[in-house]
């Protein structure tokens, strides 16, 4: 709530109303309390109010639940990150209070369930405490069944009152969410909401009103990164996928399994990760690019088949929703430590393309781009997202679906002759003809992982191997030429250039925004195309004294993160250094700024 200004004459005995342009609300409880649901309602409401919104959540890795949070940042203007500090903390238990009070800004409001939380004396002056017996009032609201299921919706009612949220829109959302089930479910939910909304909160000094959103009239959709990625794959025209369940990739797989049949497509849950990638490559060979995906250890298992796709020049899209590694690692934590395996994970020289979307919206469009690069260059494409975007919910402009949805069905028109690995192809890239295509010459191709001649038959001579290696490598050089040179955020020259990838874009750009306000010459560069890198980066780097890569992985043996190491190898520029961390959380703006200060002073 950056610019509270006192509005309208306060009514006597009721809280002062402040106009705000944004608010960060952190909800802390246990995962089975439905706190994601409250967060989801707030995010969706923001989307429908033409506001920007971003969420952040942590989920326990245990099955039966455990401490969990959901943070929503709603703003009438631009939102780049989920926010370092909360303006309001809603907590259901003592443990939520104890763990998260530190994330509240000084003077912020802590709204707590007084049935469970005992506030700490020493904190009463630092934070504004508002206690409501949420659990018992919920039980009362739904007719004293003795269960407090629904306390999340009760709390949503309280928040709606405190932030003067649009009640008709919220009740419609509740209706949409719970409608279709047993009608008493909607009735109970609305009863909880209304009684929360109607509750006269004692001791509340201030309530808030959002400025109207800057995107008035803009139609928005609100979804998570995993959803956006799944829908992007559908828009791209993919009609076959295969996968094995693993967190946090499973959401995408479930979505595709549910949705693909509507489009005439199929998603297969396979016996293991290797079968999933093999089956997807098989379907791609069938003539239409297919998709597979995984996280963590699943990616390791897929690397052999991925090498085959590189060698056989077979397009396929592999989604890697990165998590904390190695091995089982930190399955529900954010990390960007799969760049090395994405770029280099294979025996032999096995060129592939690696892309990383930076936001929920970008997940949708990057999925389409990944499919099209795979098609155009006959190459495996890895799409690296991370827990930071996968589960985050954002609002973004409603895409022009008619324009972006494409038909990539195979063409089986007979051809005169076909060489799958034609070394004299005009652009150096060959595309396969799908099986089922008649080849009038009677010479049929074999696609293979054995080094091969132009027809795909064994060709083990040293010269041939060098020619084919060059063919597989040069097409990616050609792709690099075609990639757009990324735009610098901020001035194109200055003291420090922050370089980021994946979900770190928002916090990095917010760090730039904040420090430029204080007159510092900091800019940022976000890389989406990680392999091949776009051309022309050295020119951008040359405008800065320091080039600092900000990434969520370990600094490694030699003191640089994974992207930083790649950039140093590529540009041999000792000014390129890194700030890294592996605490399982997304970057806080102040963390980035502190690191930069240490590195550049």
């Amino acid at each position: 709530m950056s610019d509270p200004t006192v509005a309208s004459t306060p009514v006597p005995n009721s809280p002062r109303v402040s106009q705000v342009s944004e608010a960060v609300i952190r909800i802390a409880g246990n995962s089975q309390d439905g706190i994601q649901a409250i967060g989801g309602f707030l995010a969706r409401l923001a989307g429908r109010s033409e506001q920007e919104v971003m969420t952040f959540m942590t989920i326990p890795a245990t099955i039966s639940g455990g401490p969990s949070i959901f943070q929503v940042r709603m703003s009438s203007g631009e939102v780049l990150s989920a926010g370092d500090e909360a303006d309001l903390l809603l907590c259901f238990y003592d443990h939520s209070y104890a763990s998260h009070i530190g994330s509240l800004k000084k003077g912020g409001i802590v709204l707590y369930d007084s049935d469970h939380v005992k506030p700490k004396e020493e904190l009463l002056t630092t934070y504004h405490h508002v206690g409501v017996p949420i659990s018992s009032l919920t039980v009362e609201a739904i007719g004293g069944t003795g269960r407090d299921k629904g306390k999340n919706i009760y709390a949503l009612g309280l928040l709606a009152r405190m932030f003067d949220l649009n009640v008709p829109k919220l009740t419609k959302l509740i209706d949409e969410r719970f409608g279709g089930k047993d009608p008493t479910v909607v009735q109970n939910a609305l009863a909880c909401f209304n009684s929360g909304y109607g509750h006269q909160v004692q001791g509340l000094l201030e309530s808030f009103q959002f400025h109207p959103g800057e995107h008035a009239g803009r139609s928005q959709v609100v979804m998570s990164g995993n959803e956006a990625l799944g829908y992007g794959i559908l828009a791209a025209g993919v009609r076959f996928g295969a996968g094995y369940p693993i967190t946090p990739w499973s959401d995408i797989m479930e979505l595709l399994r549910r949705e693909l049949p509507k489009y005439g497509g199929t998603f297969v849950q396979t016996e293991d990760e290797i079968a999933a990638v093999s089956m997807a490559i098989g379907a791609s060979y069938g003539g239409r690019v297919a998709v597979t995906g995984s996280s963590g250890p699943g990616i390791s298992l897929k690397t052999e088949a991925l090498g085959w796709a590189s060698m056989a020049e077979m397009p396929v899209v592999l989604i890697d929703v990165q998590r904390g590694g190695p091995s089982t690692g930190m399955p529900t934590s954010v990390e960007q430590s799969d760049l090395n395996i994405a770029v280099f994970g294979g025996h032999g020289d096995s060129p592939r393309v690696v892309l990383a979307p930076s936001s929920v919206e970008d997940c949708f469009y990057t999925a389409i781009e990944a499919v099209n690069i795979a098609r155009k260059y006959s190459v495996p494409v890895l799409l690296l997202t991370d827990q930071g975007i996968a589960t985050r919910i954002e609002a973004f402009p409603y895409p022009d679906l008619e324009k972006v949805c494409q038909d990539i069905s195979p063409d089986l028109t007979p051809v005169m002759d076909h060489k799958p690995y034609d070394l004299s192809a005009p652009d150096g890239i060959t595309r396969h003809v799908a099986p089922g295509t008649r080849i009038a010459s009677g010479k049929y191709p074999v696609v293979t992982g054995l080094e091969h001649n132009e027809l795909g038959h064994p060709g083990g001579s040293g010269k041939n191997h060098m020619d084919m290696n060059a063919k597989r490598r040069n097409k990616l050089r050609k792709l690099a030429e075609e990639l757009p040179v990324p735009q610098v955020y901020g001035a194109s020259e200055g003291h420090v250039l922050l370089v980021g990838w994946g979900s770190s874009k928002g916090p990095i750009e917010e760090a730039v925004k904040q420090s430029r306000k204080h007159g510092e010459a900091i800019s940022a560069l976000h890389l989406k195309h990680l392999n091949p890198l776009p051309n022309g980066l050295e020119k951008i780097f040359s405008g800065f004294t320091h080039v600092i890569v900000v990434e969520l992985n370990d600094e490694g043996l030699y003191g640089y993160g994974q992207l930083c190491t790649l950039l140093r190898a590529r540009y041999c520029d000792p000014r390129i250094r890194a700030v890294t961390k592996t605490d399982g959380l997304t970057w806080k703006v102040k963390e980035i700024l502190q690191h930069v200060l240490t590195l550049t002073k």
């Binding site: 025209g237 509507k262 290797i274 490559i281 494409q406 009038a440």
Partner: protein, 312 residues
């Protein structure tokens, strides 16, 4: 946000004569044979290859109707020797790859060829699951009871006592029984034949090709280099016997099929098990048909719009 839209890629046809099916000459071995096989002279795999040509010729299949997939091993070189769309995939995963082809391209007949290592060791998991899902394809395992390409190591079907480079004193591990494995995993067509008995193998391959589902043939195929004489007991001209499945065997009786699999060496030959169960292909087609009725008349982008409208 702009995005790169890439129009549908089409084949570059050139001047392909427009031949109606009726005017196309049926294929003979001349048109279906490709590279000369790299197998050792006398290898059993030659018979299987010759029969594959014959099968294509006899059943008037066209080049483009079939797809030949293999993993890694001597026998997995198969696709190079056939003029048809072919795939030489990685070790053990041919079935998973072939499943992707079969499910996405129901118009093709997918044949998978491989050896015992590919099928029962490194690819064991895929064997079980492709069988249980009843994916429509034909799988011929050329079982020679030894790793040949890597020059004589113990294979999952090597008998106890077999002396290999990895078991110089004789193998001690109980071999896999491919018939039992297939039946227990849920394969709907299970047959056993031998490269040494060409008419028998042809009959089995024809029946397998006609089967709607996962059809599996274990074909004993001698490795003359590293396990010569392995199957002499099944070759009458070498003093062996070739016991066929009894005429009164009920191929729909799973238990009877399992019992047949227990016959001592050289075992029994013929179709052990043959039942109809919905294929994975049919089950998926049904799910698609049910889902399509809900979106009838809508273009793909309109189906997507229905989801996006709910997320406004």
């Amino acid at each position: 946000m702009s995005t790169l839209i890439l129009p549908r890629t089409t084949n570059a046809p050139g001047d392909v004569p427009d031949l109606p099916d009726s005017e196309r000459k049926p294929l003979t071995k001349k048109e279906t044979a490709a590279d000369h096989p790299t197998w050792c002279p006398g290898c059993g795999d030659f018979s299987v290859l010759a029969l594959y040509y014959k099968l294509i010729e006899k059943h008037q299949r066209r080049h483009e109707d079939i797809c030949t997939v293999a993993g890694i091993g001597c026998s997995s070189r198969f696709p190079y020797f056939v003029q048809a769309h072919g795939v030489h995939f990685i070790h053990g995963r041919a079935l998973a790859f072939a499943t992707g082809v079969s499910l996405s391209r129901p118009d093709l007949h997918v044949f998978v060829f491989g050896g015992d290592g590919d099928a029962f060791s490194i690819g064991g998991n895929h064997f079980n699951h492709t069988a249980r899902k009843n994916v429509k394809l034909t799988y011929v395992v050329m079982d020679n009871h030894v790793y040949g390409l890597t020059k004589k190591q113990t294979s999952p079907t090597s008998p106890i006592g077999f002396k290999s480079k990895t078991d110089v004193w004789g193998s001690t591990d109980r071999p896999i029984n491919p018939m039992k494995q297939a039946i227990a995993a849920g394969a709907t067509f299970v047959a056993r034949s031998a490269a040494s008995n060409i008419p028998h193998l042809l009959k089995c391959m024809e029946a397998a090709m006609a089967h709607d589902g996962f059809s599996f043939i274990e074909c004993l195929s001698e490795c003359v280099e590293f396990y010569p004489g392995a199957f002499d007991g099944s070759i009458p001209r070498k003093g062996g016997v070739f016991p066929e499945v009894p005429a009164d065997h009920d191929v729909t009786d799973e238990y009877a099929a399992y019992k047949l699999s227990d016959a001592p060496a050289p075992g029994v030959f013929g179709i052990f098990y043959n039942v109809n169960r919905p294929t994975k292909n049919a089950n998926e087609a049904k799910i698609i048909a049910e889902n399509r009725t809900k979106v009838e008349g809508l273009a793909d982008w309109q189906i997507l719009k229905k989801n996006f409208d709910r997320m406004k």
